[in-house]
């Protein structure tokens, strides 16, 4: 796999504030790469450094083998889809999409050809002569995409491009974006603070917090095997319980849990005596069905019906609370009442032990 972008020891300081703390990672060619993190963690800063609107305080940015950190934005073969689209209000859609091509010196007829191709790609052929102010948010979004894709950049940067759209449109655009990425084969670097969006679209996700990389991996690995408590908490929903680590080797970690049981769970780097938590996802717990010999008595304290799912909060006789999520399907549409006595089961294999 060739590397499209290499970030090497890049940091960024605004005055005395360290927005990005020396990060290094590679982005592969043809990859849908997502930068995910809470507000203010430095996603936009990182993206702007790749685009050329911001210079790194230290480190190198390499685009297909070439150092670009000191190149002005207009010399980088990288295009951006801005959060608020930033379409030129005084140009019609054709002119907007053709702008980059014109700047690259394309001839008029070749340009028109490409613009039409782009309009077709984003299903906006009939709007060519309209102005941006005459479009809906979703349509502006598409034109912003077409404008950024038209010059065939080596890398496309997208800064929360879906955040201004309503839920339904956002979900539809997710698929469209993925399709576009596959059709064009252009490397996408996508910024979002929406973990669902990141999981749904990405080949790999880089989770950022406080200007540092927390975890960089495929969506499945990030969800199933988060590296730390922050990642487990930020991606999806989970139960955290403080545990004592009583044994640790390369095959398993033994823990003493507040559930009143001691279990052996998959190995973690956590050492005996270290402060640790266990993370157990709500959908990995079953009600009234013992799994791998685990069966814990408890009582329904809370129930939230969500349509496809029902969320329960169960208070165990050991005193601990666990949140459980049950899918409502044909084979499983039983509802448990408040205060009903139940037992909970889960496989120790689905427990993750994480250091603080």
């Amino acid at each position: 796999m060739t590397k499209a972008v290499q970030i090497k020891g890049v940091s960024k300081k605004y005055g005395s504030y360290q927005a990005i703390k020396k990060v290094s990672f590679d982005i592969h060619d043809n990859e849908f790469f997502t930068l995910l993190g809470p507000s203010g963690c430095g996603k936009t800063t990182l993206l702007r450094m790749i685009a050329g609107f911001e210079t790194p305080t230290t480190g190198n940015i390499i685009l297909h083998g070439q150092n670009i950190e000191n190149l002005p934005a207009n010399k980088r073969r990288v295009n951006t889809v801005f959060q608020n689209y930033a379409l030129f209000p005084h140009m019609n859609l054709e002119e907007n999409i053709g702008f980059g091509l014109e700047m690259l010196g394309w001839k008029k007829d070749k340009r028109e050809c490409r613009v039409n191709e782009m309009l077709k790609l984003v299903h906006m052929e009939q709007f060519a002569k309209r102005f941006p102010s005459e479009l809906s948010g979703g349509q502006q979004q598409r034109i912003a995409l077409a404008r950024a894709l038209a010059p065939e950049p080596e890398v496309l940067l997208l800064d929360e491009p879906l955040s201004a759209l309503d839920l339904k449109l956002r979900q539809a655009m997710r698929e469209e974006l993925q399709d576009l990425q596959r059709q064009t084969g252009i490397t996408f670097i996508f910024v979002t603070h929406d973990q669902e969006e990141a999981l749904a679209m990405s080949d790999r996700i880089c989770v950022l917090a406080h200007g540092e990389i927390q975890h960089l991996d495929s969506p499945i690995n990030i969800y199933e095997n988060p590296t730390n408590r922050f990642v487990a908490d930020f991606i999806g929903d989970t139960n955290f319980l403080d545990v004592n680590v009583t044994g640790s080797n390369v095959h398993a970690t033994s823990i003493e849990t507040p559930l009143g049981i001691n279990i052996d769970v998959p190995a973690s780097g956590v050492k005996v005596g270290q402060d640790a938590v266990m993370s157990l996802r709500p959908e990995k717990i079953s009600i009234n069905k013992s799994v791998d010999g685990v069966s814990l008595p408890g009582r329904v304290m809370h129930r939230t019906y969500m349509g496809g799912y029902t969320h329960y909060t169960i208070q165990l006789s050991s005193g601990a609370d666990l949140r459980v999520s049950m899918r409502n399907n044909i084979s499983n549409n039983i509802n448990y009442d408040l205060n009903e006595a139940v037992t909970l089961g889960f496989s120790p294999a689905s427990v993750r032990v994480l250091g603080e």
Partner: protein
């Protein structure tokens, strides 16, 4: 104006208060009566301004044939055009630097310095620039007028241009650079067209201020250039003549002809 009026009418229903109609009428009379008197008496046959004895357009003929008047108008227009152009160019550069420059130190202080001449009494400015010119040995009347007018026009041009730039999303300029446009092309193709209403408003303001200026023009005049207001003032000193009324009326009509489309374009988005 209309919106303000309807706001008052809707909120407090002022129009139902006793005497509303009379007061409104008095207000408009107060504003426009002097102007109407001038227009009316510019058609007065009589040489004594305040005594009406018949309709005539002879004062217009005499105004148009007055070579000194035409010359001074030409001076005023030339000075106004050139100083407006220079002031607007400087104001655009200053506004760009002060809103888009990231690394400018003392930004607020600089903005204050650009705007400060607005607070300065004009007479102080005029005397100061007169002294400066005599120190530098600037003799040419036209040059003196253009330099002085350019100076006091800059803050007037700066204000609307800066407001427009601040209101414009600078992501548009980033987008342009992102699409391979050089900074200069970005300015010409993106920034300038989008701040044009502000540039236009600033230019209009400069032009009007320059055309209207009396104090500075009067003090630095000499060296063979007299502006229209300075010439009119010299006429007033000899007593108010109907010709003066005709000149005033002509200026008024010209202003309306220029200002109406200007206002129309400035308010259009």
């Amino acid at each position: 104006m209309g919106r303000l009026l309807s706001f008052f009418i809707n909120k407090n229903d002022v129009s139902r208060y006793p005497g509303f109609g009379i007061i409104t009428l008095l207000f408009f009379l107060f504003l426009y009566l002097p102007i109407m008197v001038i227009i009316a008496f510019s058609f007065n046959e009589n040489k004594i301004v305040s005594v009406w004895n018949g309709f005539s357009t002879k004062w217009y003929t005499s105004a148009i044939n007055n070579q000194t008047l035409v010359d001074s108008l030409q001076v005023s227009l030339t000075v106004a055009f050139i100083s407006t152009f220079i002031a607007t160019v400087i104001a655009v550069s200053a506004a760009l630097a002060l809103t888009r420059g990231d690394d400018i130190k003392n930004k607020n202080f600089s903005i204050m310095v650009v705007n400060l001449p607005l607070m300065l009494p004009e007479i102080v400015f005029a005397v100061a620039i007169l002294i400066l010119f005599s120190l530098l040995g600037v003799q040419n009347g036209m040059l003196k007028l253009i330099l002085a007018h350019t100076c006091f026009c800059i803050p007037f041009a700066f204000l609307p241009i800066r407001a427009r730039l601040q209101g414009m999303n600078n992501n548009l300029e980033h987008a342009s650079q992102d699409l391979y446009a050089t900074p200069w092309v970005t300015f010409r193709r993106i920034t300038l067209p989008l701040i044009m209403p502000g540039v236009f408003a600033g230019g209009m303001l400069s032009f009007v201020i320059s055309m209207d200026d009396f104090i500075t023009s009067n003090i630095v005049s000499g060296g063979g250039a007299t502006t229209l207001p300075v010439y009119i003032f010299s006429l007033v000193k000899q007593g108010v003549s109907p010709e003066l009324n005709a000149i005033s009326t002509l200026i008024m009509v010209a202003s309306l002809l220029i200002a109406t489309p200007a206002l129309y374009f400035a308010t259009k988005k």
